[in-house]
């Protein structure tokens, strides 16, 4: 059975903690403070948080739930 790398969300939370991110927050402020953080998204791949968020169309996030919904909605394609 194929094993997937599934800790990307965890790594985003870790990056938020290091950057003292709190909500509500604008996308710009979030990326100014944490955009350069390296987020491991696969066993052999890391990207910056800014790159991870590049397809998010929202300018601000009312809460952490909205951020993650926007992130998944912009990266998980059907």
């Amino acid at each position: 059975m194929q094993k997937f790398y599934l800790a990307a969300g965890h790594n985003v939370i870790r990056a938020f903690s290091k950057a003292n991110i709190s909500f509500p927050i604008t996308k710009k402020e979030l990326l100014d403070r944490a955009g350069k953080a390296a987020i491991q998204v696969d066993f052999d791949k890391s990207i910056t948080l800014a790159d991870y968020c590049k397809d998010i169309k929202l300018d601000k996030f009312a809460n952490k739930s909205q951020f993650f919904n926007a992130l998944i909605g912009s990266t998980f394609k059907l």
Binding site: G9, I13, F16, S17, N20, I21, S22, F23, P24, I56, K57, L58, F61, A62, N63, K64, S65, Q66, F67, F68, N69, A70, L71, I72, G73, S74, F76, K77, L78
Partner: protein
């Protein structure tokens, strides 16, 4: 208590402990204003007990119908919010320096006659909150239905809303209070058999589904026809019971709760952030990506 759902809550935040005491007492089914004043005497006596038994209490909560009971003549013993019976309770709050929650049956509120009204009195003796029961227990309770559910700043970082008894059987009023920013919902009740199981279920559901502390005070005793079972309880935002009074006995319960945790849950919870997700259905689908679908697909609220 799991305060961050699946995802951890990040960062530091301040909390203050709000010390809450709820009492469950048997009111007289008042037929005269003398009876009403005896019920006021009883509440004041229990406020003294609360101050003695739980020094430093911030918030004192008494049951629905605590001033008048709910006998056949309840409509003959209505009080005025600026009347002497309420003034006695206001004076007691000021004397003890506590917030108090009381539930008189009021002659008239903003032009509406016969209002089952929860009030919050602050530690200066001022009425800072009035709430008229949105869902009277019909048909037996022919009081005027309420028209809004306001939230008021309380002590120690609390944002308080009140709901009354049968209100708690309707999920809309819990959601309205939480959506308005309440981090503590106070449910005062004159809830009777055979609904002692429903009492627990609805309190737990109200807390969990709205991620809010729930503080309840229910009457005890038997009047002309109904058995009021008590079981006053205080619940965490995950729906677990912190403390619960016994069935049928006059009693006090006390808990320290931390209202700012609720505020932080609403900012930081990713999954099960119901007060946000209920209006953003399917927000992680690619077609929505952060702003979910609306509530207009529900037919239940359409005329």
């Amino acid at each position: 208590m799991n305060i961050g759902s699946t995802h951890a809550i990040s960062g530091k935040f301040e909390v203050e402990a709000l010390s809450v005491v709820c009492v469950q007492v048997p009111p007289i089914s008042a037929q005269t204003m003398e009876d009403v004043n005896k019920n006021v005497d009883q509440i004041i006596d229990w406020m003294d007990k609360a101050a003695f038994g739980f020094p430093g209490v911030d918030l004192f909560v008494s049951p629905e119908c605590g001033l008048q009971g709910f006998g056949p003549l309840w409509n003959d013993v209505l009080v005025d919010l600026d009347g002497p019976e309420i003034q006695r309770l206001r004076d007691k709050c000021k004397e003890l320096g506590v917030y108090g929650v009381f539930n008189p049956l009021v002659r008239e509120v903003r032009g509406r006659k016969g209002c089952n009204t929860a009030i919050i009195v602050n530690d200066q003796g001022e009425i800072v909150h009035e709430y008229v029961k949105m869902n009277p227990w019909i048909p037996g309770e022919a009081s005027h239905p309420g028209w809004d559910c306001k939230v008021v700043d309380g002590p120690k970082g609390s944002k308080l809303a009140t709901i009354i008894c049968a209100d708690g059987d309707y999920p809309e009023i819990w959601r309205e209070a939480a959506f308005g920013g309440a981090n503590v919902i106070i449910r005062v009740s004159h809830y009777m058999a055979p609904w002692d199981r429903a009492w627990e279920i609805t309190n737990k559901a109200g807390a969990y589904c709205n991620q809010v502390y729930v503080v309840t005070a229910n009457s005890v005793g038997i009047d002309e026809g109904y058995s009021y079972f008590g079981r006053s309880m205080i619940l965490n935002p995950d729906g677990t019971i912190i403390c619960e009074a016994p069935m049928g006995l006059p009693w006090m319960i006390k808990a320290d709760i931390y209202p700012q945790i609720v505020d932080q849950i609403r900012k930081e919870a990713v999954t099960s952030n119901f007060v946000w997700t209920f209006k953003n259905r399917g927000a992680s689908h690619q077609d929505f990506a952060g702003v979910g679908d609306t509530l207009d697909k529900y037919t239940a609220y359409q005329k």
